[in-house]
Symmetry: D4
Subunit: 230 residues, 8 copies
């Protein structure tokens, strides 16, 4: 369990103990959570990432974080809506099943896109459908074929968070539900859809943290992994 022969430079020491064997151990890219880190700290980490050549995602990155990463890794790509940086910019060739991402409303797009891009960078084919809230059932019912073709479905929804229950009742694939902080008042920053989803009356729904598009995309990519993967 040693960190191997590579030696962190002085700049890295005291900032982060990079877990650079994780990609090897887990089979997926490394991720750097940017919130709460200064752009300088993220820049130092990005340089170390480049030195070692490990596929890496930088999540919840502001434009200041993005600037620091792109200075160190000019061939990275920043998806501003999703607040996600990917290096290298190009996802791997897709394998396994398809991941379908549903956003209940347009306001849920940032979270849905973070999930979409994460699933792609973990090596899955991934599609996005927007604005299929339960107040207009024909919108989701009109997508039945697409829903039933997916190996894993991600549903991002705020407010009443009712969409995962409806979707899970229509398919046999597992549903990864991600509550969003879309809403106001008694939505309590995403608490309402979080509770709705945890109490889904349809089995086959599991939930990640509020606004955690990265976590939803990661989980779905693991579910839809090819059978030969562990």
């Amino acid at each position: 369990m040693a960190d191997g022969a590579w030696e962190p430079g002085e700049a890295l020491r005291g900032i982060a103990e990079l877990d650079l064997e994780r990609g090897h151990r887990r089979g997926y890219p490394e991720a750097v959570y940017c919130e709460g880190k200064t752009p300088e700290q993220v820049g130092v980490i990005a340089a170390a990432v480049g030195d070692r050549g490990v596929r890496t995602l930088f999540t919840r990155a502001t434009s200041a974080h993005a600037k620091a990463v792109l200075a160190a890794l000019p061939d990275a790509e920043y998806a501003a809506t999703a607040r996600l940086l990917a290096w290298p910019a190009e996802p791997p060739e897709p394998t396994g099943g398809t991941v379908l991402v549903l956003a209940a409303g347009t306001s849920d797009l940032p979270v849905a896109e973070e999930a979409l891009l994460t699933a792609r960078h973990l090596g899955r084919r991934a599609e996005l459908v927007v604005d299929v809230g339960v107040a207009g059932l024909h919108r989701v019912l009109g997508r039945l074929e697409q829903l039933r073709a997916a190996r894993a479905i991600i549903v991002a929804a705020g407010m009443d968070g009712a969409l995962p229950s409806v979707v899970a009742g229509l398919v046999s694939a597992p549903v990864v539900a991600v509550p969003t902080s879309v809403g106001y008042g008694a939505a309590f920053e995403g608490l309402a859809p979080l509770l709705t989803m945890l109490n889904s009356c349809a089995p086959g729904v599991a939930v990640v943290n509020i606004d955690n598009g990265y976590g939803a995309g990661h989980m779905a990519a693991q579910i839809a992994a090819p059978a030969t993967s562990p």
Copy 2:
């Protein structure tokens, strides 16, 4: 605003100041909330009700409460599931529009029946449909005609509380949503469906207290009142 000529007997004094003009003022039966009152106290109130001849509902009544009321008002009727006593037993002749009560699951029946009976005793025609949760959409979609014929719809649901959003998206009548304490864990005794319903992405939903079938039935009966009523 005086209490009128009627004088409470000694037994009533210190227990309740009966609001016997309320039926007159509001146009609906009086209600006695039994929880937290002793059977003896409820019995004394029931006797006073009988003396004055005011149509009255006794809500959240245990069988001990029921026994005390029936001793004083033998022609009252106790609906044990709904925990409701009505005196007189017979509801008035129905007027106004129809109230439709939906129960998402069988476990929501006690609340749904309390709503149903309340609406009837306030003078409405009222119907009940059970087990139409969103995990099997065809069940609610198979009721479209009945849904669209109602002047007011009550939806009782626990767990994810998603049914009111779906129903409100299908009809133009107002929906009175009543969360139930059905569920466990993160349902937090009805908090989860309560929040879901308050955050409904479909307009036309208003919410009453958890397990408050009486309040839902009352509100729906007022909504469906004949136009000549105020």
Copy 3:
């Protein structure tokens, strides 16, 4: 359940799947929730609305949203206090009963006005009364006649949220209570009046989300709809 012959332009695709049959299905205007959408997204939706000619409300709209909508729909009208855009600006000819909107205090005005305008754009006659909090009972008692003339009453109140209980005890029309985030400390952004209203000791009160003037106005308009409407 197809979306019909109309084809969304490229700009709309991936932003919103407009539910343009909803007006037809529900009998009321379409609504676009602006919070969490960029002004650009809202502008694209507004253009699509104009193309199809569907009566639409844009809720929780900032001035930036308003600017984008007015660029696409110059004959829309922006009510800044209510944060509401209506297109067309003129409400339909009123039918049905009267909706009365009460604001407990001046600070509740934005929510009360959103409710008022919504009820009017759904086709109801609607009136507003401000500053009738329970700490000075004569203010509400002085309005008894106006209160009893309404077919539906909306009460917007923050802080202790006690007004709906008092009002519901005085009238036989249903009361739609909308808690506001007015207050501080243990008001917990509207949680206190929300709980007060859910626990109203007077029947005939149902509650919508904190600060949800749109929802209250919509519900009240449905309640006060003419009897021939479903």
Copy 4:
């Protein structure tokens, strides 16, 4: 600050360090909180109380506690509804202003009676009015003279807890509000009326713990103390 010459017997040691100078220091009876103590422990304390002759209240006492106290202090009195034991049974001669106790509903009686008896045993004249909830305003408006004659008013209310705001708007005496756990669902065991009362839109309201009739009675008795008392 020594405990004086009196020596606790062996039985008391390790159970309680009686604060027997508190009556002297504070000018009011000693109180023993029984909940969480065994009847045996309470009995030992009661015996010590008798030895020293200090006026004492035993609060939140079950009948088992009562039995143990009455064995040691046969001339004590147990008010079962209020769950209060007083020794000696007779309150002191009243001085100072009048304390008025209002109970919003019959179910609030146990808390209201605990407040009433506490105020009396602290030496005040105290009166009780039951069932004056805000859903029937004429009941409280019919008591204006009695309300305005009191030096301190206690209001016990559960559910929406709206009564203190209404009362405080009608009088110039301070109001001690005591939320009760009466109610269900979103009353959350008294949290709802607690928040209502803390957010009263009428000044002159201060709040004690849920169901804390003893604390309300004590506070009101201090407020209504004769001017010569500190």
Copy 5:
């Protein structure tokens, strides 16, 4: 209960229904809660106040509110720390007992000063003592004489909110506890000291809303009112 002969000008209509008889009814100054009102609205109200000549406090006033009030009532006075405007600037001649205000820490000063000024403008002699937190008990114990001379004591404290329990154990006057939002993390914006104070193990403590210095000062002034006042 008519609003009397005075007619609000056009500017006031639709903003506030001034309760100008409240001073008469309650015996204390009128108060205008500024939060959530625009400076323009507050300015219109201030002008109406000046027309009628009613002693008035403007609470939770920003400097913008203050500017608007001072334009209409140049002889008002703005206490910026307390965010309080008083008109007229001079409090009435003090009567009744003394109100003592304790602030546990320097950060609690704004709330403590709001309480102090409120008590003075309601006609009480009031004193302020700062920085007497329980972590250094000698500070409060060194004030025993001053504590015992007061007719009512206000304690403002954030964080652990432990000071009221300690103070109430030392005096026989009632303690009005006002939790402040001072603190961080698990202080949850004042929730922690609020709960502490509600659960005080010493009787004689009642609590007002978080940061509600105005309410605390008002309550204490009522407690310390001369005996001839109602």
Copy 6:
């Protein structure tokens, strides 16, 4: 979407609208949630199940529920610890990958067993490992090989709920975390581990409701389904 030719007997009408095509639609057994239903109601449903011959699980069943089911379906099997009834008793022949169930402590066994049996009755090979909490890391580290052989891992944990984070860091299979109500005090009936799991610092964790072993087992079985299943 009609309910087909089968006609519910009189007994079933008004209790449940059985969703008997769900097995067909979703590919998994039907489930009947017993909590909140009377044994009589569950017995009627069991009889209908037997008539149609649909593989069914009865969850959260008390021994009274079990007795009613076994009367109607004598060849069902009741697992008392898991509170689960399965009919038929024998699970289908396993296909797809292996589901591994970890219980952090012995007290988590009921939930873990419910998950284990559910996964088996949905057609998966499933194994159980007990007492591998993080306070003794060698216990989980000693199972690395078994952990890495699973296609889906369920982790049931109460108290600090830390185990899923540790496990997810060691494997590349997705982890379904199920918080249990094991613990006391600030565990708040499972809220603590629920929040821990939602905030897992390791990606690849999704969460179901507190104590929802059935939901966890269902989700894991779907994840580990053979690739040819949708």
Copy 7:
């Protein structure tokens, strides 16, 4: 990290994976948390403990658990108030500094005794002082010498939980605060004192779970360990 040569008997397998090297690794007795385990399971574990001869505490044990343990380990001792079983009954010879346990009230005794016994069985000299709540400061001030002689102080308090702040301001030893569920209403089963203690205005206070006397005793014993221990 193997479990060594010892082989669990058949009975133990599937119940618990005993961490019997923990005493060796951590230097303290093993603990078995009994809540949520059946007496049978605890009995099997007790037998395994006896076979290996590892000093063990059984916490939160009911009398049924106690009976099962005593059947397997007749020389164990059950402290019913503390719900603690110790085997062997005799604590080790004390080393290190003294642990002082303070209980704010008599009702906090069960938690305080659990802490006391735990500290003793971990090898410390430990003393108990009861009923030193802050409402009577002279009680704690009269113990200054004893307080200042301790190497670690445990404070168990419910209700306002104010005692740790006062104690920590008087000593230089660290204070381990344990909130208890003593209290009612807004004590919220120990939440109030928990928050109070976390927000202590005196540094030198750290907190364990509500009612966790075992955890407090363990922490204090580690703090007061002799310097030569790690």
Copy 8:
């Protein structure tokens, strides 16, 4: 208990009653909590500190606070990340055992550094290790020797807060856990790791307030104090 001969200047009066004997009484530096104080107030206090020559820490200080302190005490030192000012800048010569500070992630650094510096200024040798989260167990397992050499361990962690449980299972020194507000959504500003830590399944963990690095450092320094200190 007088404050001695030193007389606060006019500037200090009404701002703070400096507890300048606390260092003497408690044996540790004085601390000034800056949040909620104006820079001017903090500057006045700093001048008083300089006059008396008492070693002092200024916590949660913004750069504006820092500027005011440095104007009065030019030889103080400001650690911007930790938001801590120390005067004098140089910590005392270390005595007692070593304090080890672990930060689960880079984002926890500000809290960890506040703890580190506090421990040093209280006279301990203190070391910092960053980025040892449980998702990569080899990082913490690679530090076993360093962990076991410490007399007290501080663990700062946000999100799932799982690190203290893992660490406490590996060492016999006490662990002071400090939850951080790092995370989002259901981390609820640090509530999630706070609950995790309070429910640690490993004994030997006690918790301080969210983000309270100062409190953690203080507690750990007291634990690691030399045996001759009380």
